[in-house]
């Protein structure tokens, strides 16, 4: 297993959707650099909004991470899907961390929100993108589910602030007394979404077995 994993690193690196990732990376950094380029001194809420936008752009790129044009040809191979997906995530994670650090540094320091908290928000959005991609791979035959994942993320980004219950506020500002509590929730979300993503990774062995078991419990034919 270790030898296979080591041998896969190079080819998997080359199969990653670099165009989508690079486009999101460049667009995110350009967005983060807008105040510095324009010489503006934005308010803290504006910088917060800017960084949330940058995180979303990065996540849109990550939504394409599991796109694989050769998916159908490489579906029934012994190397497990979860391993291949984990390799992609592992390879992109250091780059994503560097990219986010650069985005934070580009944002105006005077109005920058607490770095740890806004990074947590970015992590959740990124993990949500990856979990969405893993879910799409599990539930569909689509070789390139990236556009659908991106659309799902955009929709979530629009609806979440509108639909989230008041006592489960997530999108608060640093001077809001709920900031700390909100970030406890972001941490919970990070764990839940990551777990959901990991659960989507393994291929199901048999739908029939689950259905048959359910039918047996219900007293019907398998």
């Amino acid at each position: 297993m270790r030898e296979v994993t080591r041998a896969l690193v190079g080819p998997v690196w080359r199969t990653m959707p670099w165009r989508a990732l690079a486009a999101a990376g460049v667009l995110g950094l350009l967005t983060a650099a807008v105040p510095a380029v324009a010489g503006a001194e934005p308010d803290p809420w504006q910088t917060l909004l800017l960084l949330r936008g940058v995180a979303l752009i990065g996540a849109l790129g990550l939504g394409f991470l599991l796109d694989d044009p050769a998916r159908h040809l490489t579906a029934p191979v012994p190397a497990r899907r979860l391993l291949r997906q984990a390799l992609r995530v592992g390879l992109v994670a250091p780059l994503a961390a560097l990219w986010w650090t650069a985005a934070l540094l580009l944002a105006p320091s005077a109005s920058r929100p607490p770095a740890g908290d806004i990074t947590l928000e970015a992590v959740v959005v990124g993990v949500l993108a990856l979990a969405g991609a893993a879910l799409a791979v599990r539930l569909t035959d689509e070789a390139r589910p990236g556009p659908f994942v991106a659309a799902f993320l955009l929709l979530t980004a629009v609806l979440a602030p509108l639909l989230a219950p008041e006592d489960w506020a997530l999108f608060v500002q640093p001077d809001d007394p709920r900031w700390s509590t909100a970030h406890d929730r972001w941490a919970v979300l990070a764990v839940v979404v990551a777990a959901a993503g990991v659960l989507c990774g393994p291929e199901p062995v048999g739908r029939g077995r689950r259905r048959a078991a359910k039918a047996r419990r219900a007293g019907g034919p398998p």
Binding site: E3, P69, H72, P78, R207, R211
Partner: protein, 286 residues
Amino acid sequence: MPPTVSASGLSLHYGRTRALDDVSLRLAPGVTGLLGPNGAGKTTLLRVLATAVPPDRGAFTALGHDPGTPQGRQEVRRRLGYLPQTPGFHPDFTAFEFVDYVAILKELADRGDRHREVRRVLEEVGLGDVRGRRIRKLSGGMRQRVALAAALVGDPGFLVLDEPTVGLDPEQRMRFRELIAGAGEGRTVLLSTHQTEDVAMLCHRVIVMAEGAVRFDGTPAELTARATGRVWSSTERDPGAKAGWRTGTGSFRNVGDPPAGADLVDPTLEDGYLLALDGIGTEVTA
């Protein structure tokens, strides 16, 4: 000969669509053809047997293992070659790099052995000279051969080929037939196709599917024999025929229940196939 693959009662639904309906079959070494119209369930059956998708119901064993268990599925996949209908490639890879990538996914970890195996299969499919060329620069027929090489790498005991000759010109199709015939020596090959000529030339056995179910299972000669006495020639299209068409000589070839005194002609595999789909002579003979 003992079966390599034995399936019983395979069923699969996509939402409300019944893609497979209680399919049972046995596959032995050699090339078995899978014929059927679009939407017959051929690709779904191939994907199930290739362990790409689990069935809703039913079970099968392949190469002595049960893919219904995680360990069994791994064992089957270690000895399986699969060429899907639309293979898809990483176009910046060379032919060698792509097959090498698939070889790693098939757990051929030792670099030296793996590279020898990749060179062997690329030679086998006639791509030895272009193995360093990027896939984006290969013709459609060459790409299809890259996909076949990827399926053959690791010397699988069970080869699943989903319409491998679609979109190929006649010369390429002939070349592919040679490759499939070679692959079928000592292996179990399941070949889905729309081309009855492919089946007539390659297969020792043919399965006809329609609406997710097996409509015929026997030898090509038996399928052809189903049409004996049911194909006739006439100067006008016979309205009683199940199918009829004008031939190059100007006469009509009719398939169905002939009228008395009809000018019967020798049937072909295609005639037997048409009748099997029409519900005439569709008892399963396996």
